[in-house]
Symmetry: C3
Subunit: 153 residues, 3 copies
């Protein structure tokens, strides 16, 4: 086990995987922040501490464009970051060069930071589309290398 973690490729993978997971986890407090400032909740039991009258309670169970935007960004993270981590783990075990592996990991991490800024900040396209595409290409390139090394159907 010590051998696995001592490999520099695996250390690099662990670092980048942990950072992008941390970024993804931070979407939850960001959603909570927008829910509280926009007064837009999903659950009746969440409203009580923010509502002063029974009418407020009903009014605060609603969807809000800013909350929905952060939630779509979080969902996009789930759809892209988790596949990156699964593929990155398997790719790391195929014994790639450290420099090639680091290139893939760094490109992906930076692309997802840009994606979040572009999404939450509602920057004009194609900023969000391009950052999504760059991250996807890094993952697909690792899929190609992994499949061509270990294929056993």
């Amino acid at each position: 086990m010590a051998d696995v973690i001592d490999s520099e490729v695996f250390r690099a993978f662990t670092t980048h995987a942990t950072l992008v997971v941390l970024k993804m986890l931070l979407m939850a407090p960001l959603t909570a922040y927008f829910r509280i400032t926009r007064k837009a909740f999903s659950n009746a039991e969440d409203v009580s501490s923010h509502a002063k009258s029974p009418e407020d309670k009903k009014k605060f169970i609603r969807s809000d464009p800013d909350v929905e935007r952060v939630r779509r960004c979080h969902q996009n993270d789930l759809e892209n970051i988790i596949p990156f981590i699964i593929i990155g783990l398997l790719y790391s075990l195929t014994g790639p060069d450290l420099s090639t592996a680091l290139l893939h990991f760094r490109v992906f991490t930076v692309s997802r930071l840009c994606h979040t800024v572009a999404y939450v900040g509602a920057l004009p396209q194609p900023s969000r589309g391009l950052s999504w595409m760059v991250g996807m290409l890094a993952t697909v390139s690792m899929i190609y290398r992994t499949l061509s090394t270990v294929l056993l159907l």
Copy 2:
């Protein structure tokens, strides 16, 4: 490979990871149960066996508060349990003490069981918020230990 699985920390991780994934998978039959009892479906092809008339078919394609509550709980599981498993796997490979590792895993597993009960049962806050927070802290603590052991950007 036998070495990895023989490590007690890795056996503990495997046990807790498997249990929380099993809990998450059970949200799907729970959603199906509420969809059928509340007669609230998303897909036209799912309605046929429950509808007796063509009007029923249209009426049953709708959203229901109980179904949506279970789905939000399932979504929260995806957003929290999968990061725990990714981080827990990497953390297990950094060679932590068995007792420290077990503490993290047990706290997380129990916190997610409480979270599900609090969410599906619509218990008053802060029961759901606190159980979510405890699980998050366990994950963040493992992120800190993992990053401080292996950092290679």
Copy 3:
């Protein structure tokens, strides 16, 4: 590390895990295809290149049944494929027979391909329900084997 990847069970797992992740990733361009052909977008900044007038911009921010169907299929993939990969990885480390492991992996991969065809094509039930169930049974069978081998609470 070379030992892990040299194991035939792990090579088989890596191949099937990579293939189902690739299938899941392809749901994103499929969603984009339906969004563009149905002119149904979620974000104001995505509309500009498809809208010719300011009225179009408002009209195109809407939900569409075909887009929602693909998104539900993508969500179902997240809820089922990621647990399969987590469990499959841990199961592979418990040292199962190659033939038993391959059976589990092949059944799961084929079941998810059928599930996607049944969902996106809106085939009559129980085609989608059955293919979902078969994939779930493969995952639960691996959970049983993994827990009975390594249990350490």
